[in-house]
């Protein structure tokens, strides 16, 4: 309903006293308050002092005529609506147009008709009220908006602390991500594994604004925490899915691509659900391999239905993986045409130099969008397989002599078939070992040793897989398929950890014995033939450099590793 109520303060400016008296009477009779002026100058002064809400203004007045007075008053009123009704017996269109140009909103001609004047005043009152309401609502919106922006900034600050950039600044990663990408639902995380490799996760949440950003936080926490503890990519992606399934409402999900890159092994595993196909670009053959989404996005399936099947590839130094969210495909130019997947793939096909691909893609999109369009909704990542020297040593934590923890202990932990099938013991064992203060800073090295030996014990000892199978590209996937199958059907077998830690004068010593139920191998013969300690064709020279000693025992299905650590010298 329109607001008809409320009396107004009305300014009557007319140089004729008779006219003024009549108008004043009409207006007061309608219940409004009146201030008067007898020329243009006085009209402006009255306006400034008394702040009337509506003005009846005679066009022709001495000192300053109505037109000039109207102009000044409208300027003073600014964005407020103060209707001006010109009082005039001018009838020609030109004069009336002049009234409007000066800022007049209406006319009232002489002789003054009470009914007409009252009707006009009512109409303008309604308009004024509407205008006021609009202004108030607009002001509220502005304040609200400012609050929202402030909240977003706060949220972003929290998010940045939780999500931080991990190792996105590594020399082998290039990325394009707008600073407010998280509010578009885009998240990019990267972390070094304790074994030296790397996990990278690109996520694209449905929705916009805070709801999209909120989901990203627990995902980042899980990603960084579990990666540093040595959990596998399968375990991490499954955990993230569980978390998101629990906290996100139905219909909200996260399309994602997660990479697990083992630098030393030259292996890469990819999980991709809901994102448009990514690309693995081989540097040597210039082959473009499509990594297509083969899973539902994260947060849709419950834990028991969630599938972790990874796409596995052998990779060489210089190979590059390109990941993106659908922002690139959906970018539209001013003809409303989408950039699309075909144009994106064309960039690869026309590539002259692999190291320019990242820039080429960016330029191609910019060119397509043209001058006017912004491309800050684009998320683009290139992860290059580095050579070993390039990869930075993980920073070591310092330890203090005064740090106390378990220094003398022994653990015997045997995993039988069900445990081998459904459980990864490495994070737990690593956790236990790194409770020793001196070993905390070596967690990477310790993890590498454990992972290597456990993997050997499980795959070669218990599952009896031959790593020679991994020599060719087909053999690669076959190996992993076989591994899954044999593990699933495992009925007998075990892997056992025997861990002992003792303090020494300068620090401590950890002895790890890993034995398995397999047939072992003729380690003596191997050493004789090539002088290196090889086990099923996979070299473990690294372990040799990290450990004080490594010895095979029994029929070769038992390996003992001794690892020493020292307190740091003061002053060194």
């Amino acid at each position: 309903m329109e607001d008809d109520s409320g009396s107004l303060k009305i300014l009557i400016a007319d140089d004729n006293e008779t006219d003024r008296m009549i108008l004043q009477a009409i207006v007061k009779k309608q219940g409004h308050a009146v201030v008067t002026a007898s020329d243009g100058l006085e009209a402006v002064e009255r306006f400034i002092e008394d702040q009337p809400e509506l003005i009846l203004l005679d066009a022709l007045m001495p000192n300053m005529d109505g037109f000039e007075a109207a102009r000044r008053i409208k300027e003073l009123a600014g964005e407020d609506l103060v209707p001006i009704i010109f009082l005039t017996s001018l009838k020609d269109a030109e004069s009336l147009a002049k009234c409007l140009e000066a800022g007049g909103d209406d006319f009232l001609s002489k002789p003054y008709n009470r009914i007409i004047l009252q009707a006009k005043i009512n109409a303008f009152r309604r308009m004024r009220n509407m205008h006021l309401t609009l202004q108030q609502q607009r002001d509220q919106i502005v304040i609200h908006n400012e609050h929202l922006l402030h909240e977003q900034e706060t949220a972003k600050a929290v998010f940045d602390n939780v999500a931080h950039s991990g190792c996105l600044d590594s020399p082998n990663i290039k990325y394009l991500l707008s600073p407010l990408a998280v509010f578009n639902g885009d998240v990019l995380l990267a972390a070094r594994k304790p074994s030296g490799g790397m996990h990278v996760l690109l996520g694209d949440y449905t929705g916009h604004g805070l709801p999209a950003a909120i989901g990203a936080m627990p995902m980042a926490e899980i990603f960084y925490a579990l990666t540093s503890k040595g959990f596998t990519v399968e375990e991490i992606i499954k955990e993230i899915n569980s978390k998101l399934k629990n906290i996100l409402p139905t219909g909200v999900f996260c399309c994602a691509c997660m990479l697990d890159i083992e630098f030393r092994e030259r292996e890469m595993k990819v999980w991709i659900g809901g994102l448009p196909s990514c690309v693995l670009y081989r540097s040597e053959t210039e082959e473009r391999i499509e990594l297509a989404s083969n899973h539902l996005p994260l947060g849709v399936l419950s834990s028991d239905q969630f599938k972790v099947k990874m796409q596995v590839f052998e990779v060489s130094e210089g190979d590059r993986v390109f990941m993106w969210s659908d922002g690139i495909h959906e970018a539209r130019n001013d003809q409303d045409v989408m950039f699309g997947e075909d144009r994106l793939m064309d960039v690869f096909d026309q590539c002259k130099r692999p190291d320019q691909l990242f820039d080429d893609i960016q330029h191609s999109v910019e060119k397509f969008l043209g001058e006017a369009q912004r491309d800050d909704d684009i998320t683009l990542v290139e992860v290059r397989i580095p050579n070993e020297e390039e990869v930075e040593e993980l920073p070591e934590e310092t330890i203090d002599v005064s740090d106390k923890g378990p220094m003398d202990w022994f653990l015997d932990y045997r995993l039988n078939p069900m445990s081998l099938k459904y459980f990864n013991p490495l994070p737990f064992v690593l956790q236990l070992i790194t409770e020793v203060p001196g070993l905390r800073r070596c967690s990477g090295q310790v993890y590498t040793i454990l992972a290597e030996l456990f993997s050997n014990a499980l795959e070669h000892g218990v599952l009896k897989l031959d790593s020679a199978l991994k020599k060719n590209p087909q053999g690669f996937s076959e190996y992993y398929d076989l591994r899954s199958k044999r593990l699933e059907n495992l009925e007998d077998g075990f892997v056992e950890f025997q861990l002992e830690h003792i303090p020494t004068d300068t620090g401590g010593q950890l002895t790890v014995v890993i034995s398995d139920s397999g047939d072992g191998f003729d380690h003596q013969a191997k050493i004789k033939t090539d002088g290196n300690v090889q086990y099923c064709g996979r070299g473990i020279p690294l372990i040799s450099t990290l450990c004080r000693s490594i010895t095979y025992q029994g029929v070769g299905n038992k390996v003992e590793v001794v690892f020493e650590w020292h307190y740091q010298q003061t002053g060194s």
Binding site: T206, G251, F253, C255, L275, N294
Partner: protein
């Protein structure tokens, strides 16, 4: 964007037809289409014959429908998709949850 729905009393099948762009603006209407029915449908058909475009919020709406229709036991068919729509559904692997034509 317009949503047209019809319930076949005999078969108990609710057909929801989405015309135009299937995006966030369809949210309330799509929901009303399956919530405000006289009797509970046994199966659902989402007809995309006139759907020109599908975005992630539409995928979300399909998930909501599935949840409403019984989750894992829901019987939902998505039919007559054009190639663009089909592509989006494929990338998201929605054929694991819906019967897609």
């Amino acid at each position: 964007m317009a949503i047209v729905s019809s319930l076949d009393a005999g078969t108990g099948e609710l057909t929801i037809k989405v015309k135009g762009r299937f995006d966030f603006s369809a949210h309330q209407e799509f929901r009303d289409a399956y919530e405000k029915v006289d009797s509970v449908p046994g199966l659902y058909l989402v007809d995309m014959a006139e759907t020109t475009y599908l975005d992630s919020s539409a995928l979300g709406m399909l998930l909501l429908l599935r949840d409403h229709a019984g989750g894992d036991s829901a019987q939902i068919k998505i039919a007559n998709c054009n190639s663009d729509v089909k592509k989006i559904l494929t990338i998201s692997n929605f054929e694991q949850l819906f019967d897609i034509d």
